[in-house]
Each structure stands twice: as structure tokens, then as C-alpha cells.
């Protein structure tokens, strides 16, 4: 029994760590580059998941649904930045509340449009595989691989391409970036789209092996807070490490102590890190915004 639990725990940690990385990277990108703490980020997961639900209902095609999840969430994110956040950027307090309320609006719209019950999204890949004596659905393996593919692709994009380097430069110093001819507004637009697409896909993945609910983004958002604070707000590498730490901590607490404490250990860690070492365990200095 103990062995089975350990394998189960390990696969859960691996899979959820990868998923939370996707969510947290988008969150940390928007914060690190634009200085905006996007509290609507969790709701973008719902947009992704429910776009997929709608497309599956209409066409029955799972690949199309995945495209819809990415596109729906990305478009929303773009529209939110272009239509609202851009105009309110001078006032951080206003932005913070705007994102919070926007998150609520999305949740409520989804609730009204699709109802509050949990909806199933078809698996991206059917069947089961046996790993270390534990039967694993192919879907989970596939989601895991796909998540890491996305994370890897993002690392490549940010570190090796011109656009990615422009994003990094802006996150380090907006003025410096402007001096070498990088247009901040365009960079912000990229980060919002990127974050939206990643969150939309994470929402689809999460829905494919759990279910889609209107409030499904809340726990990942709360965990993202802890993840990015541990990793250092604005650091992509730190987010991945933080995501694994947090998913490990959370799964261990849930498995060994009590399911009633789901998510709490992460929040306690968040408060402690903020109080003791606010620049994060691995991260850079606090962003200067």
C-alpha cells in the first residue's frame, strides 16, 4: 500500500507541478514585465476550459477544442489588456481591483452560461499505460509531456528569440528597454497573450483529468501566488521550481495529514516567505514597479 501511495503521490506531484508551472509562468510574466498582479488569471483557466467544452459540444473534435481553449483565453487576455488595463496602468490600486472584479465577472458569466455543475471534458488521449506497477491514464502522461513541451518552448522563446529577449529586457528595466528601441506597449501585449494562452491550455488540461467548474481557477490562482512568491515574482525559472515545491507540499499535506488542508500549506508558506524573505527563495529582487 505504501509503495502504491508513493507512486501515486509522485505522479500527482509531477503532473500538477507541470500544470501549476503553466499557470504560474503566465502570472509571473504579467507581473514581472508589466507590474500588474493579475487576479483575473485564475478565471482565464475557466475561459480555456469552457471554450473547449463549447467546441466539443458543437464539433466533437478534441484537437479543435484545444485550439479553442488557447485561442479563447488568448483573445480574452489581449482584449482585457488592450481595452482596460492599458488605460488604468498609472494607478496600481485601480488595476488590482479591476483584475479582481474582472475575474469575478468571468466566473459569473460562465456560471450563468454553463451552470454551476461540474462538466466533463473528453480526455485528450484515451487508454492507459502501466508505469512502475501503477496504471496511469494516457491522458495524464500526455498532459504532462505537453506541459513540459510548452515550458521548454517558452524557455527557448524567452531566452533565444528577439521578441523573448525584448520581454526580458522590459522586465529588467522599462527605461533601459525603451532606450534601445523596445516598445513597452507591444511587449506588454505579447506577455498578456502568452499568459492567456498558457492559462487557457492549463484550464483545458485541468478539466480533462478533473472537471470544469466556473470556479476551477481559484485554487490554481491561490497556489500561483505562493509559487511565484517562492520563486521570486517575475522569475520564470523560479516559477517552475516553486510550482514543484508547492505541488509537492500540497500533495504531501493532503495525503498524509488531511484533505481538509488542501491548499493551506501553500498559503502559509506564502505568508511566511513574504514576511521573512519577500524577494523569494531563488528569485531576483522585488520588481521596482
Amino acid at each position: 500500500m505504501v509503495d502504491v501511495n508513493a507512486v501515486n503521490l509522485a505522479t500527482n506531484v509531477l503532473l500538477l507541478g507541470a500544470l501549476y508551472s503553466l499557470v504560474a509562468i503566465g502570472f509571473t510574466l504579467i507581473f514581472g514585465v508589466g507590474g500588474v498582479l493579475n487576479l483575473a488569471h485564475g478565471a482565464v483557466l475557466s475561459i480555456g476550459a469552457y471554450s473547449a467544452v463549447a467546441v466539443v459540444r458543437a464539433t466533437g473534435s478534441v484537437p479543435l477544442a484545444a485550439v479553442a481553449a488557447a485561442a479563447g483565453a488568448g483573445l480574452f487576455s489581449l482584449a482585457f489588456y488592450k481595452g482596460m488595463i492599458r488605460y488604468a496602468r498609472e494607478s496600481p490600486v485601480l488595476v488590482l481591483i479591476l483584475t479582481l472584479v474582472m475575474g469575478l465577472v468571468i466566473e459569473q458569466v460562465v456560471l450563468v452560461a454553463f451552470g454551476g455543475q461540474a462538466l466533463a471534458v473528453p480526455s485528450l488521449l484515451a487508454g492507459q499505460t502501466e508505469v512502475a506497477g501503477q496504471r496511469l491514464s494516457n491522458n495524464r502522461v500526455f498532459v504532462f509531456a505537453l506541459s513540459w513541451l510548452l515550458i521548454g518552448g517558452l524557455f527557448y522563446f524567452v531566452n533565444r528569440t528577439k521578441t523573448g529577449q525584448a520581454i526580458l529586457a522590459t522586465s529588467m528595466s522599462e527605461k533601459g528597454a525603451a532606450l534601445v528601441g523596445i516598445e513597452a506597449d507591444r511587449v506588454y501585449t505579447y506577455t498578456w497573450i502568452l499568459a492567456g494562452v498558457l492559462a487557457g491550455l492549463a484550464g483545458l488540461f485541468l478539466a480533462s483529468f478533473q472537471t470544469a467548474t466556473p470556479l476551477m481557477g481559484r485554487t490554481p490562482l491561490l497556489l500561483s501566488f505562493s509559487i511565484v512568491v517562492i520563486g521570486g515574482l517575475g522569475s520564470i525559472r523560479g516559477s517552475v521550481i516553486g510550482a514543484y515545491l508547492i505541488s509537492f507540499l500540497d500533495q504531501v499535506t493532503v495525503t498524509l495529514v488531511s484533505t481538509r488542508l488542501a491548499g493551506v500549506s501553500a498559503l502559509v508558506v506564502l505568508v511566511l516567505v513574504l514576511l521573512i524573505k519577500p524577494e523569494g527563495l531563488f528569485g531576483r529582487e522585488l520588481a521596482e514597479h
Binding site: 479591476l98 491548499g263 506564502l270
Partner: protein, 370 residues
């Protein structure tokens, strides 16, 4: 108002003379007088609603006092209502303390919570601090869920046993059972909070809090310690939030449950109401709170909209934030009553009447100690 410094210091009597007030202030007084009469003339169900609205307005004011003034946005003000309420309720339930005395337990506990939340704010600012406030009530709810024998978990204290309600107090019919009593108790708590908050925010301390919101470094540069003022704001906000939470729970309108006092929704509704009314004004928050509560109650009772009320509110708030970020009350005061004129410039930078009176009193009491 900036031009009224010519006569120097006015006495309390002159200051509080309704005839000398601006139109919107007179309207406010009329509204408060109406609140005294309403519970008597309205049907009992509306007395309940007035009581609920006034408690909620007090919650909103206690949020506005911290976040509207210092600019450190608290996303979890439910913590104070919850700590105040639950501490009082549990003191009654487990230790048999009389509700009227248990309220003080709640107030003290909420004040302590204000101190605890205030301390991080000395170290963290902006979004980092907001994160701490957002997360703290969620942690507390989980702790409650972990000790259902003491707290009743999600169900609230009802799940553990019967909490007493307020008994009679002097001439007041028991606020724990009578709608009229509850309405007057709520009015008392509301007016107390209103007077305290208005007095503090219109004093020099209020100027410092506003200064912290605008530029903390500049406040520090004038030799004042922003940390001290922020901590003070949090403790006072906690005390009054706790008072409202505790009295709400023991009154006929409320009970001690997570969803009524501590849930994220409450903290957010408080912010929404304050934004609607006008952040950083106290009076706007009071109006916004009462308005929000009544509108919510009415909307919930309408067949179709009842399901959608939170969506409608969220959308309305979003639009308000975007197009009228200063809120209803300040916008109305500026456009309707003040004619949009900023007043005559004065050489000393100007000061409000209330400030002048307060300064006079401070001098009499032995000068300013800062």
C-alpha cells in the same frame, strides 16, 4: 472649503450648526434623522433590512478607513468581521459570557488581528501586502474547518450549539429578537463608527493617512513615521470591524457563519460597495454600503435577476471603476452641490473647518504630540 480660513478657529457649536453646513452635509444629516424614524414606520421586514444595511455599511467604512485612506488595499477585510464575530460568539458558546460582554471580547480579538495584519504592512507594500490580506482569511477558514468541534466549520457556530442573542438593554427592546431593537442597535454601531472615522480622517491624522496613499516617502521625509500611522489605521479599523461583526452576530439579523462574516465574497462585496460609494471618503463608503445592501436584497427578490445579482453587480462595479473611479458620492457632491469649483486659493494651503477646531482643541490640551 479651502477658502474658509478667514475667521480662524470656530467653536464646536458653530461647526456642528446645521445652518452653516454645505448642502450635501445637510442632506446627510436629514438622512441620519430619517434612519431614526424609519424602523418605527416601516414594516418589520424592512426594519430587518435597515439593520442589515447599517451593519454592512459599518463593515464598508472600516475597510475604507484603511484601504481608501492609506492606499494599502485589503482584500480580506472579512478577517476582522470574522475574528470579531467568532471570538464573541465562541466566548458566549463555550464560556457562557453574556452577549453584551462578549462583544468586547470580539472587539479586542479583532483589534489584535488588526495589529497582526498591520505589522506585515510595515514591511510589504502594494500587491505584496494585498496578497497577505487576501490569503489570511482563507487560512483562517481552513483552520476553522479543521476544528469543527469549536467553530462548526462551514456551517458556523450554529453547527456546534445555540449561541445566545442580545437581551434587553435599558429602554431598547431586545435587539436579538425584535426587528426594531436590531435596527436601533445597528444604527448605534453605524453612527459610532461614522463619527469615529469621520473625526479621525478629517483630523491631521487623516491628512497623514492620505499622504501615505499619495507618497509614503514624502510623508517619511516630513519626519512622520508612516508605519505608526498605518498600524494605527489597521488597529482602529479592526476594532470597529470586529465591533460590527460581533454585534451583527448577536443581533436578530445575523449569525456567526463563515459565509456571513469571513468568506472571500464578503471581503469583495465590501470593496465593491466602497468603490460604488466613493473610496477614501468614509461618507461615500457609508452610503455605498447601505445602498449596496438594500439593492442586493431587492434584486435577490426579483424572479429572474435574483440568480444574476452578483454578475450584475460585478459588471456595474467594473464600469464604475473604469468610468467613475471616484465613486457616486464624491462625483455627486462635486457636480450637484459644489458646482465643480475648487474654491479660492489661500496662502497657508487651506484647512477644513474640522481641522481648525481639532487643532484648537489640541492646543488647549497641551499642544500636539508627535
Amino acid at each position: 472649503m479651502a477658502g474658509n480660513t478667514d475667521t480662524g478657529v470656530r467653536t464646536w457649536g458653530e461647526l456642528l450648526d446645521p445652518r452653516s453646513m454645505a448642502t450635501h452635509q445637510q442632506l446627510g444629516l436629514v438622512a441620519i434623522l430619517a434612519l431614526f424614524v424609519l424602523p418605527l414606520v416601516l414594516p418589520a421586514i424592512w426594519a430587518f433590512r435597515v439593520a442589515g444595511a447599517l451593519f454592512f455599511a459599518t463593515f464598508v467604512m472600516s475597510w475604507d478607513f484603511v484601504s481608501g485612506y492609506t492606499g494599502e488595499i485589503s482584500f480580506g477585510h472579512g478577517l476582522f468581521f470574522g475574528v470579531g464575530g467568532y471570538a464573541a460568539g465562541m466566548a458566549n458558546l463555550h464560556l457562557d459570557v453574556d452577549p453584551w460582554l462578549a462583544v468586547f471580547v470580539g472587539v479586542a480579538a479583532a483589534g489584535a488581528a488588526g495589529l497582526l495584519i498591520g505589522f506585515p504592512s510595515l514591511r510589504l507594500q502594494g500587491p505584496y501586502f494585498s496578497l497577505v490580506t487576501l490569503v489570511t482569511p482563507i487560512i483562517l477558514i481552513s483552520v476553522f474547518r479543521f476544528f469543527p468541534d469549536l467553530t462548526g466549520g462551514e456551517l458556523g457556530l450554529v453547527g456546534v450549539g445555540t449561541v445566545d442573542k442580545f437581551g434587553d438593554l435599558l429602554f431598547l427592546p431586545s435587539p436579538g429578537f425584535s426587528p426594531i431593537g436590531a435596527a436601533y442597535l445597528a444604527l448605534g454601531v453605524f453612527l459610532f463608527a461614522l463619527v469615529v472615522f469621520v473625526a479621525v480622517t478629517r483630523s491631521d491624522a487623516g491628512m497623514v493617512l492620505t499622504g501615505i496613499r499619495e507618497d509614503e516617502t514624502a510623508v517619511a521625509a516630513t519626519g512622520k513615521n508612516p508605519a505608526k500611522f498605518k498600524l494605527f489605521a489597521f488597529v482602529l479599523s479592526g476594532l470597529i470591524g470586529g465591533l460590527a461583526g460581533a454585534t451583527y452576530g448577536f443581533s436578530a439579523v445575523g449569525s456567526f457563519t463563515v459565509s456571513e462574516l469571513l468568506a472571500l465574497v464578503i471581503s469583495i462585496e465590501v470593496i465593491v460597495a466602497a468603490i460604488l460609494g466613493g473610496m477614501g471618503t468614509i461618507t461615500g463608503a457609508a452610503f455605498g454600503g447601505a445602498f449596496f445592501y438594500i439593492l442586493r436584497t431587492v434584486m435577490r427578490n426579483i424572479e429572474f435577476i435574483g440568480e444574476l445579482y452578483f454578475l450584475v453587480f460585478a459588471v456595474v462595479t467594473l464600469l464604475f471603476l473604469f468610468f467613475l473611479p471616484q465613486g457616486i458620492v464624491p462625483a455627486a457632491v462635486n457636480r450637484l452641490f459644489a458646482g465643480g469649483s475648487p474654491g479660492e486659493p489661500v496662502t497657508d494651503g487651506g484647512s477644513t473647518d474640522a481641522m481648525a477646531v481639532l487643532r484648537d482643541w489640541m492646543d488647549r490640551l497641551g499642544g500636539e504630540k508627535r
